[in-house]
Subunit: 192 residues, 2 copies
């Protein structure tokens, strides 16, 4: 199974490093043969938020098929203006079995028209903007993540860790998700 995490300049660091840590730890503990990679629009160095120098594994041109797409937040506004990015997200989402957002990554999924009619969430600071900008969404607050079949949206920054543990539970099993949280010494905030 191939996990593609979409990153870009000024993406929030923990939005992508948290899910990467969860998935790679789960992969190691569970011997899942998962392939976890970062994807950016173009090749080369990405400057994530705060000047964090990260490389993607693949660009839009050369990435493997993506079964699980994770779109992260941060300073996402430039991404919304890029027709090439939005059409790539829409195309990959169409063929993926799961599509998730962390933090303001929900705006990118919304811009791609993927969240219409769904119950979703985002960073607490951006709840009202998401409602105003995309009135076809049912935006909720005070949930770490919201799962709606194929689509999962999570709250701000560290909530992406909880959401990704849920993905592990869903795609592998609950025992592995709990073992992963224990390995990370992370107090998983499950929805129960």
């Amino acid at each position: 199974m191939n996990f593609g995490i979409y990153i870009y300049n000024n993406a929030e660091v923990l939005d992508f490093s948290g899910p990467f840590e969860v998935l790679s730890t789960a992969n190691r503990l569970g011997h899942n043969n998962w392939n976890i990679f970062l994807v950016s629009e173009n090749k080369g160095l990405i400057q994530a938020r705060g000047g964090y120098p990260i490389h993607s594994h693949f660009s839009f041109e050369d990435h493997p098929d993506i079964d699980v797409l994770i779109v992260v937040g941060g300073i996402h506004t430039e991404e919304l203006k890029k027709a090439h990015v939005i059409s790539w997200v829409a195309k990959v989402a169409e063929h993926a079995s799961k599509v998730a957002s962390v933090c303001t990554g929900a705006f990118i999924l919304a811009e791609a028209g993927l969240l219409n009619g769904l119950t979703v969430t985002t960073h607490w600071e951006d709840i009202s903007d998401l409602k105003i900008d995309y009135p076809k969404l049912n935006v909720v607050s005070n949930q770490r993540w919201v799962s709606q079949g194929k689509y999962i949206t999570s709250g701000g920054i560290s909530a992406g860790i909880d959401m990704t543990l849920h993905l592990v539970s869903d795609l592998a099993n609950l025992t592995l998700a709990k073992e992963t949280a224990k390995q990370m010494e992370y107090d998983w905030q499950r929805i129960t």
Copy 2:
């Protein structure tokens, strides 16, 4: 104030990305004029654990003075064998005002002779090894982090986030640490 985070091949991703996220968010919210950077032994691309492609900002040869040194864990055993790394850590620690470890980064500080006589902690899986390998340390479990004046050691992986929030509280103030946790939607596990 200059924060240097030491990274290396097979360093655990969240061990360094978590503290970077905390410090850069605190810096943005608090207008602290903090300089937060990653340091590696040599220039070039680092493959953190799980094949995570990260660049350091500086090498041992060209980094600015470090006021706060954070040494991270992961597969740390190769680092212990590198005399150049251990002597660099010892030298930087001598001039730093705070020295912290995340997870098995405690072994690197211990190898540099910095933790003798102190109460310290590490990842839960490595508590007994740390006791055996460095009998001059008082190793404890079931604490997210242990502060001993200049030296702070934290538990595994995500505990580095809690420890770094404590650093923010200590070096700036408690209000900023709480605001940073709120911005990250992180449930800070404080020692109270």
